[in-house]
Assembly symmetry: C2
Homo-oligomer: 345 residues x 2
Amino acid sequence: MNQKKLTKKTTIYDLAELAGTSASAVSAVLNGSWKKRRISIALAERINRIADEQGYAVNMQASLLRRDNSKIIGMIVPKYDNRYFGSIVETFETMARARGLFPIITCTRRDPELEIEAARAMLSYQVEWLVATGATDPDHISDMCIAAGVGSLNLDLPGTKAPSIISDNFGGARELTRRILIKSKHEHGAAQPLLFIGGRASDHNTSERIRGFRAAHQDIGVRVDESHILASGYAPEKAEGSLAALATSEGHLPSGMFVNSTISLEGVMRWIKRSGHYKEQSPLIGCFDWDPFADLLGDKIEMVRQDVQGMLTEIFTIIDSGASSTTVIQVPPIFVTGDQPVPVY
Amino acid sequence: MNQKKLTKKTTIYDLAELAGTSASAVSAVLNGSWKKRRISIALAERINRIADEQGYAVNMQASLLRRDNSKIIGMIVPKYDNRYFGSIVETFETMARARGLFPIITCTRRDPELEIEAARAMLSYQVEWLVATGATDPDHISDMCIAAGVGSLNLDLPGTKAPSIISDNFGGARELTRRILIKSKHEHGAAQPLLFIGGRASDHNTSERIRGFRAAHQDIGVRVDESHILASGYAPEKAEGSLAALATSEGHLPSGMFVNSTISLEGVMRWIKRSGHYKEQSPLIGCFDWDPFADLLGDKIEMVRQDVQGMLTEIFTIIDSGASSTTVIQVPPIFVTGDQPVPVY
DNA sequence: TTGAAAGCGCTAACAG
DNA sequence: CTGTTAGCGCTTTCAA
């Protein structure tokens, strides 16, 4: 890290000297405020040329210190290991840039401490807005933002102290469950109750999805087996563990299941493959989340895709309007009615 | 965006006043340089308490402007839509933070213009190092960094003006090809030549992998069909298109293939499923990249996992030592010799 | 049409 | 042990 100052960075003073003018003229030309200042085109062009030659780049730290708005927008996100968060981040960056905002993103690996630390760092960098995605304690983050006079927004998981944009977890889960139950009826004559697996019962999304899961069963008069609701965590290993335990204790497993995320699905599929259960008859699966490869895994997996575009549009609508409320906006997820199921292997 | 200054942010002057001391004492306490200054514990504690109460967060812009090192480290990355780049970003963030560096990351969506713009933005934010991941024109970025006196590093795709850390594409591809050819021999009595699909022939990684692909065929005296080297791009649709075209023109397809990335694999698998080709006998597949679901897709897919940990360790070794060279470091990818292949469905 | 100068919030050398 | 002070590079009045 001993990158010594071999090359002192070029400043507007250097450019001013080279152009035979003043720093304020250079500043005005470079940041576009020069039309107002009625600087001569000649000077403007000269300055621009020299800046180019010198490969000049403004010192944002200095610029921001002086200005009263930073145009920086922050996001914290739990993980980059699945398509959902990946596309959230990518879409967020694109939409932010389209508005002339500079996005900074931090991955907090579902670590509550890191979330807070990251939020504090973002405030130090003078973000104008902070989007807390899937945060474990969104209200804490909102409090910090409120204290700093900075807008905050919750995404994916709701809070009570800032606007929240989330999927319609109840509706989506109910519809997804309904679809699997219909398949179940087709396959077994009568719909058989499903297993719910993955997620944390304590988080809002999971509990709403469980509610939808229950509702869909109730809708057709099928009784849910309470011991078949396994919200033991997000990691693949958790799902594997739960299935293994269930298999040991009950011997045979339900003929269909509702999997709460692609991350859990990873564990589920791995376990199915390894354990050799379901060898004669593979289970019907519904997954609340989408992954292109999982989609290819067979005709028995139904997936709901959360509407990332839709959610981020809501996010930026709020940011653009500067509104501040405490509403929860639920964005319906998307059911991809894919091409005809043809087994790959 | 009309977030007006309702709450003027707390500064060290405010804290100083509240604590009945000076701004410099507050500054020293808050940034840890106070042991050198032999400030009384009592004062330090008082200041810390008050800062806490006020929810104070330093103004980084002001702090960085004054200091001569920013502790900011930048990375540009092409996409967030696959596990490889996802884990690069996540590992990068973690390792940077462990060193007290603040990571800022920008996704450039394989857009050359955006790459340059992003690099310029990072320089404006006074990054101390810039890691260009999978950049289309790494040397241009290095030039900008050199001009600004900032260190730069290439990751995944090599350049000639900064150290480059890449996978051993030749070696990895040769070994991967070898493995598929062995399977081919088992299955068909004699090894049959494979199809190469995905990537851009113009990029270094792809051409090295093609070289490895050729070498492995040559090693066992099997002739490569030149018209079966299809490096038509990274997007899934490109792979689909190439396969469709080949199927039309030749009628039947090779019995095995080397797929250049999970992104291309997505298109390949989709096409296989949709087209109904390979219905009687599914193809042997090797993929130069890894995805957990693709891994579950059947026993006929062999994957190499690029060693993200290893590559980032190299990156930070260079950063930690401040060395600056122009070497290319090749990190061997990992062959996961998975569990016994058991078809899922 | 242009330049001088003040000051954003913080750090660090120096003077007590 | 503590406070005063001089900038860091830029933006923005204000005066010329």
